[in-house]
């Protein structure tokens, strides 16, 4: 497994709070502490557009399935829906009482789910002009750090040490207690694991006890644990690559840790920045590659095998 850094982009945005791929992996978005979001072409390292309008730092961003809209959230407690081309905010959704930590579109990009420091997860309707949330999920007892949306579920990870999975189809809330109070939940990532059994699904959770745990979604059992990286008290993201073979995580030592999913051994460490923390990762939904953010720049990593192919095709 060999990942090489193909691009390093200095975003000029102060500190990057999050970096995200879009739905087809051709573009990426960076959220900066300068209250702006920037759109890039990571393959060519080109800057494309800036979206300014937040009142405070932007913490997370998501792009719609048709690449026409972007939704972002930040410390100013608002969620903003942007028109990608015009770079204008279309809607400002106010409802949260604290900084909004994470945001996600649903599959058809007709709804947006946001999680916040105020222990709430709010579902917003994009299609209609409603400025109030469709539904507010108040089950968490502490800050909800991350929210992820799949075809029929909403997955949330909270600092109250619980992963909550809201199954819309079944009308259920499944609450998984992860650890003791000191092992707070940091980040989660739902994963479709094909390697285990077909239709079986797993959830990846990064915890503040410096481990990343892989859970079986149906039973809640622990399938694997990955450690070695250092997080201290920081919010370090983790992700899994498209083929479900490797798990990546940031670390405070400035490198990206990679583990083999099945063998649970540490395979590689990609050094991003020796002096700063790598905290944000995004996995390419189409190809084998990831984005990492550290300080004020982002790096694009691609699998070397892929690169050889592309080089050949270009020639």
């Amino acid at each position: 497994m060999d990942y090489v850094c193909t691009q390093t982009i200095d975003c000029g945005q102060g500190a990057i709070r999050a970096v995200r791929y879009n739905v087809d992996g051709n573009y990426c978005l960076t959220c900066g502490s300068d209250k702006k979001i920037k759109l890039w072409n990571p393959n060519k390292g080109l800057y494309l557009n800036t979206y300014a309008g937040h009142g405070n730092e932007v913490l997370d961003v998501a792009s719609s399935c048709d690449n026409s809209q972007i939704v972002s959230c930040g410390i100013d407690k608002t969620v903003i829906l942007w028109d990608v081309i015009k770079a204008q905010p279309l809607r400002r959704l106010r409802g949260h009482a604290g900084k909004v930590t994470s945001i996600a579109f649903n599959e058809e990009s007709t709804a947006v789910v946001s999680s916040s420091e105020d222990n709430r997860v709010m579902c917003w309707d994009i299609k209609s002009r409603q400025n109030t949330p469709i539904q507010v999920l108040k089950d968490a007892n502490d800050c909800v750090m991350k929210v992820k949306v799949t075809a029929n579920e909403i997955l949330t990870g909270s600092l109250d040490c619980r992963i909550r999975r809201y199954d819309i189809r079944m009308g259920e809330l499944i609450e998984d207690y992860i650890g003791e109070y000191d092992k707070k939940l940091c980040f989660i990532d739902p994963v479709t694991c094909v390697t285990f059994t077909s239709d079986e699904q797993c959830v990846l959770a990064s915890c503040t006890d410096e481990t990343i745990k892989l859970f079986d979604k149906k039973t809640g059992e622990l399938l694997g644990e990955y450690s070695g990286h250092k997080t201290n008290d920081y919010y370090i993201e983790c992700c899994i690559d498209k083929t479900d073979s490797f798990i990546f995580s940031g670390s405070i030592d400035g490198s990206i840790w990679c583990w083999d999913l099945v063998k649970m051994n540490s395979v590689n460490q990609l050094i991003h920045n020796k002096k700063a923390i790598v905290h944000s990762l995004s996995s390419n939904p189409i190809k084998k590659g990831i984005l990492s953010a550290s300080g004020s720049n982002i790096k694009v990593w691609m699998s070397s095998s892929l690169l050889e192919d592309t080089e050949l095709s270009e020639i």
């Binding site: 949330p133 539904q135 009308g171 499944i174 998984d176 650890g179 039973t219 809640g220």
Partner: protein
């Protein structure tokens, strides 16, 4: 002559001798040659009409060396500092001088400047009682309070006073009442308003409640505090006693003093009579209505009561007075309490800082409070619970956490990494209807959907239409019977959203679309029939199909209070106790109620807080509250739901008022106000 000169005595120093040549001649300088100059001798060029000023260096550049640039300081290391310019960078001494654009001089602050009109004394401003004042200044002042008590307050507190109390001997409830009455009397007689306590209204209400169990004479209260009257300096120019615009006159409907017009010995009273262009009265000619001016029945009114003359004039005292009935109370003297010989002060729950005397006072107050104790009402009581551990006296000792046994097992499993059933909890969760739509997932039917949740909705309420009330009854029954058979959605299904409220239009399309597969087809057909009937009657044809929530269904729809069906049923049992307001203030409802000759078309006017009187009057076959043509009996007994439900204004289920519903489109115009 010489002798006269020698007699002069000179005092003082003589002036220097004048040299005639050196004197500048006044008139030789022509006016044209006289230039205005400033202190530096520079010619004033600009602003001649305002005294003139010269700009720069002889109206050219800033100084002898030209414009002086600011010193260059490298900003390479201080890049992120915000570089900004301000107006002061461009000002020179003249601008900052007395006649410049920005005079910067040392001045006395207005609060200390005795001469200026802004002078506000450093003394604490006492609260101003202003009549009819529209300003919010007193409110703002109340927001800021000093951190420490003043010396006076400290002294009072040491003597047992508590903030918000008045100063003086303690009074029983009866005495307090008397005091209030006197105040009101004084106000009535002398026309002045004594500073009253804001809570006087509250007390008035409390006094109506029965306190039969408590012997009120024993319990004393601190007298009410009153705000000291501060004489305000008159700083305006309108006349004495002039009152500005009083909100009360406009917003409330006080009974007006009707003007009267006298013609040929006959008088006409009423609005606008007597107020014409030739009149001096500035009476308020806006229409003030009051229900007590209207008759509710024909015939002589019983309201007139002749005030009996209790006292005759010839009572042996001055006209207008009478001999007193009550004898004057002799002042009682109370002896000191007798302390028994063997009394020892026992351990108490009071902090050590309190003196014995204070402890005693607290004890007595607790005893009194206990007598007045009433348990918390339900709503409040739900929010509190009894502690599981007893209070600990040693505050330094760490308190053990209360341990939940269930959670313990879960935590242990987590530490041992036995994740699974022990660490997992399942709850039923009802996703919102719209959310399900957006995810393209059919709404899940679970036990939770049958609950009528009491939580508030996020959706806008368009008001429950009559249809839902009827439908939901039937619907719930249908579902309860058949839900076990149905795993799929039931088309009329109760929405899994958190409340029963849905506007009518959202229902109809659902019903029409998914009619085919279910067992309760018949019941649905029955429902649709009835709904169609109502639709035909009430809906205008254009307002049918939209699924958008912003649609308004009909021109006239009863808009009841926004409440779930459960709450409606609960409320029908309750009677409103809040006092009537507005035009109903002076209405005596009790006298109206039990009249035997209520005609069929009595207008028992419905307003939101009105007391429902129907429950008192027994409903015969024909409900006396019903008006309109009587429905034939065969229809009432039939399967069709009674249309009479609709016409009943005092129905137990719906407390509604027929109001014309505004089109929601109008509200859309309000949008374009804020951009940022």
């Amino acid at each position: 002559m010489d002798s006269d000169e020698e007699d002069f005595v000179t005092y003082g120093n003589p002036l220097d001798p004048i040299d005639e040549d050196t004197l500048p001649s006044k008139k030789s300088i022509k006016i044209e040659e006289q230039y205005a100059v400033d202190e530096h001798g520079r010619r004033r060029f600009h602003g001649a009409f305002t005294g003139g000023f010269s700009a720069g260096f002889c109206n050219s550049v800033g100084s002898l060396g030209g414009w002086e640039p600011t010193n260059f300081i490298s900003s390479r290391n201080s890049r992120t500092e915000i570089k900004s310019q301000n107006a002061f960078d461009f000002m020179d001494d003249e601008d900052r001088g007395e006649h410049g654009i920005c005079p910067m001089s040392v001045k006395v602050k207005p609060e200390y400047d005795v001469k200026s009109s802004d002078f506000s004394s450093r003394k604490r401003i006492r609260e101003i009682i202003s009549e009819g004042s529209l300003s919010a200044a007193p409110v703002v002042q109340q927001l800021f309070a000093p951190v420490r008590h003043t010396v006076g307050v400290k002294l009072l507190m040491k003597m047992g006073w508590k903030p918000e109390q008045g100063v003086g001997p303690r009074l029983t409830k009866a005495e307090k009442k008397l005091r209030k009455k006197t105040q009101e009397y004084v106000q009535k007689v002398y026309g002045c308003q004594l500073p009253t306590n804001v809570e006087s209204k509250k007390d008035a209400e409390e006094s109506d409640e029965s306190d039969l169990d408590i012997n009120l004479d024993e319990i004393t209260f601190a007298p009410d505090d009153y705000k000291s009257y501060v004489l305000e300096l008159k700083q305006n120019t309108f006349g004495l006693g002039y009152k500005g615009m009083d909100r009360k006159n406009i917003l409330s409907s006080n009974k007006p003093e009707f003007s009267k017009l006298t013609v040929n010995g006959k008088t006409i009273r009423g609005q606008a009579f007597g107020v014409g262009i030739l009149e001096d009265d500035d009476d308020d000619i806006y229409f003030h209505d009051d229900m007590s001016d209207y008759d509710f029945s024909l015939g002589p009114s019983n309201k007139e009561k002749n005030v009996k003359k209790q006292y005759s004039l010839d009572d042996g005292c001055i006209e207008g007075f009478h001999v007193s009935i009550k004898a004057n109370k002799i002042r009682e003297k109370f002896s000191l309490p007798v302390i028994p010989n063997d009394w020892n002060s026992t351990k108490s729950i009071f902090p050590e800082t309190m003196t014995e005397w204070e402890v005693e006072r607290e004890k007595s107050e607790f005893v009194k409070a206990a007598k007045l104790y009433r348990p918390l009402s339900d709503d409040m009581a739900n929010r509190f619970t009894v502690g599981s551990q007893e209070d600990v006296h040693d505050i330094l000792k760490p308190v053990e956490k209360t341990v939940n046994i269930k959670d313990q097992a879960m935590k242990e499993a987590a530490t041992r990494k036995l994740y699974g059933p022990l660490t997992r909890k399942k709850f039923s969760w009802i996703p919102d209807r719209v959310l399900c739509k957006r995810f393209n997932i059919p709404e899940p039917i679970s036990a939770g959907t049958l609950q009528v949740a009491a939580e508030t909705t996020k959706h806008k309420n368009h008001g429950i239409s009559i249809f839902e009330v009827l439908k939901s009854d039937l619907r719930i029954e249908a579902i309860k019977k058949d839900w076990s058979n149905d795993k799929n959605e039931i088309d009329n299904g109760v929405q899994p959203s958190e409340s029963m409220q849905v506007s009518f239009e959202n229902e109809i399309p659902d019903m029409k679309d998914k009619n085919e597969e279910n067992d309760i087809d018949d019941k649905i057909a029955g429902i649709t029939e009835k709904v169609d009937l109502f639709k035909a009657i009430f809906l205008s044809s254009s307002d049918d199909e939209d699924e958008e929530k912003d649609n308004t269904p009909a021109e006239f729809i009863p808009i009841p209070k926004e409440e779930t069906e459960n709450e409606i049923k609960k409320k029908s049992d309750k009677i409103s106790y809040s006092p009537p307001r507005g035009i109903f203030t002076n209405l005596d409802l009790d006298s109206l109620r039990y009249k035997p000759n209520i005609s069929k078309n009595t207008e028992i006017i419905e307003k939101e807080e009105k007391i429902n009187t129907t429950s008192d009057i027994k409903a015969a076959e024909i409900d006396p509250q019903m008006y309109g043509p009587q429905i034939p009996m065969n229809l009432i007994r039939g399967k069709v739901a009674r249309p009479s439900h609709i016409f009943k204004t005092n129905s137990k289920e719906v407390n509604s008022v027929w109001v014309e519903k505004n089109r929601k489109h109008k509200k859309k115009h309000k949008k374009h106000k804020k951009h940022k």
